[in-house]
Amino acid sequence: MVAAYRTVFGSIDDYRKGGVECLNDDPKRYVYSNMFEVAANSRPHERIAVARNLDYTIEVCRAEGLSPWMVCAHDEFVVAMDYDVTVHYRKLDDESGIDDSKDGFRTLAGEPAGRAMGRIFLKRGHQALLPEKRAYRFEASRPATLMLQSVSGPETQEKWADICQK
């Protein structure tokens, strides 16, 4: 008889956070958080670092409704961690404003001029490429958690004292 296993995922409205129990250490050294908790307590579309290694970041974004357009000089990656999210892509008519020497995403004002490239429909566990210099935005009909692999930039929010176990 083959055993049946149940794989447990979390979501923005259903998660069970773990933690650090110290014998002889400081829990703050573990910079411990839960991405669903971060998303649940975030405003839509803000991107909050939950991990940082020198300049590189893992960011959590609460997708809800339609986000602003964003663009980045380097690749980024997004993973849908719970509910459905659509990623829209646009090739900008004018890329001169994208500074190759600057890291991290930048929010664009309004509807930037450019050609629609298409869209990707992400479900739980799907990862998409956000290619360099291509504008993208997220659309979600209900609050959803996105995990982004990126590099720290001026719009990356760091709120360690708010999100981490102390």
Binding site: G10, G19, A51, I120, A128
Partner: protein, 325 residues
């Protein structure tokens, strides 16, 4: 070492080769690996030893220290490697019984590969969870070279992009693991406008992980310069105690892993970390960690392979924690 106390290993009877490098000798019997150095001898149950050895070999001695247990392990200096016995345990050091010998990495790797091949019998997969494989014990019979020589899958940009690391499928020898049969396998729907068909890329990341044939063995799925997403599936116990020489991060994607944390230099216990789906945790650069996963789980290990970190390790400025608050 007091030679009168040295264990007797009848290699001729059990059929395994003995391996010697410098002043360190490795022998095995039906149940144990024996590591001999001028300061003493240490035994490790052979199943645990081979699981740890498999990781040390597959990961090229990895980052920092790969502790097989609290006594024996290797420390990577990137081009050369220490074998140590007792030097990461305060009691061995206090007793003056600690021993370290340094070798060129390629020499030690050749010996470890040969040992892994000779000591792994047919029916035992050192990468598999215990319920998925046979026994490591007994006298020499056959080998599992095709399993121990698996190549690590490393994406240059992202899995699934044409020319990059391929998706896993039944046809390519990656069936869905028994513990992840409930994980959805549908690929994301991509609607590209004409002319942009080759520019939109996405894949089922959780579905990909569900098809991993190994445990505790990260692959690389997405890359931004030196930022590497290295997910892995975990079941039972991490075969090594990893003493990283830099910060690394864990993101629990599913289920639960409990980590025992020890001091990297003394083996003294420091903390217990229980990670559940969605949890994010840094592993400081001065500890060792060993994970226990009661049910096969998905873990994202996030590594920074920056040469800048190598410089910082060399000059002693590498941060032990990623952020302070």
């Amino acid at each position: 070492m007091n030679q009168q106390l040295k264990c007797t290993v009848d290699s001729a009877a059990v059929g395994y080769q003995t391996f010697t490098i410098g002043q360190v000798k490795f022998e095995r019997c039906e149940y144990f690996a024996y590591i001999n150095c001028p300061k003493g001898e240490h035994l490790i149950p052979i199943d645990a030893f081979l699981r740890a050895l498999m990781r040390d070999v597959a990961w090229g001695f990895f980052y920092g220290t790969v502790a097989f247990d609290d006594v024996f392990g290797t420390t990577n200096h990137y081009g050369n490697v220490d074998i140590y016995m007792g030097s990461k345990h305060s009691e061995w050091v206090k007793a003056g019984r600690d021993y370290v010998e340094n070798f060129k990495s390629d020499l030690l790797m050749a010996l470890f590969r040969a040992m892994l091949s000779d000591w792994t019998n047919a029916g035992f997969d050192p990468f598999a969870a215990p319920q998925e494989t046979g026994t490591a014990f007994g006298r020499k019979h056959g080998n599992e070279d095709s399993l121990i020589n698996r190549k690590r899958e490393v994406a240059r940009r992202m899995v699934g992009i044409p020319g990059d690391a391929a998706l896993r499928s039944d046809d390519t020898g990656f069936p869905v693991n028994r513990a992840f049969l409930d994980v959805d396998q549908q690929q994301p729907v991509i609607q590209a406008e004409p002319g942009f068909e080759g520019e939109l890329h996405a894949y089922n990341f959780f579905g990909y992980l569900a098809r991993s044939a190994v445990t505790w063995n990260p692959s690389v799925v997405s890359v931004i310069r030196q930022s590497l997403f290295c997910p892995t599936t975990e079941e039972f116990v991490l075969p090594i105690d990893h003493g990283n020489d830099r910060v690394e991060w864990f993101i629990q994607l599913s289920d639960e892993i409990v980590w025992d944390i020890k001091d990297g230099a003394t083996s003294a216990p420091k903390a217990k970390v229980t990670m559940r789906a969605g949890d994010v945790c840094a592993m400081p650069g001065d500890i060792r960690h060993k994970g226990q996963s009661p049910k096969r789980s998905m873990l994202l290990v996030w590594e920074n392979a920056s040469p800048q970190i190598m410089d910082m390790i060399r000059d002693g400025t590498v941060p032990m924690v990623p952020v302070t608050f």
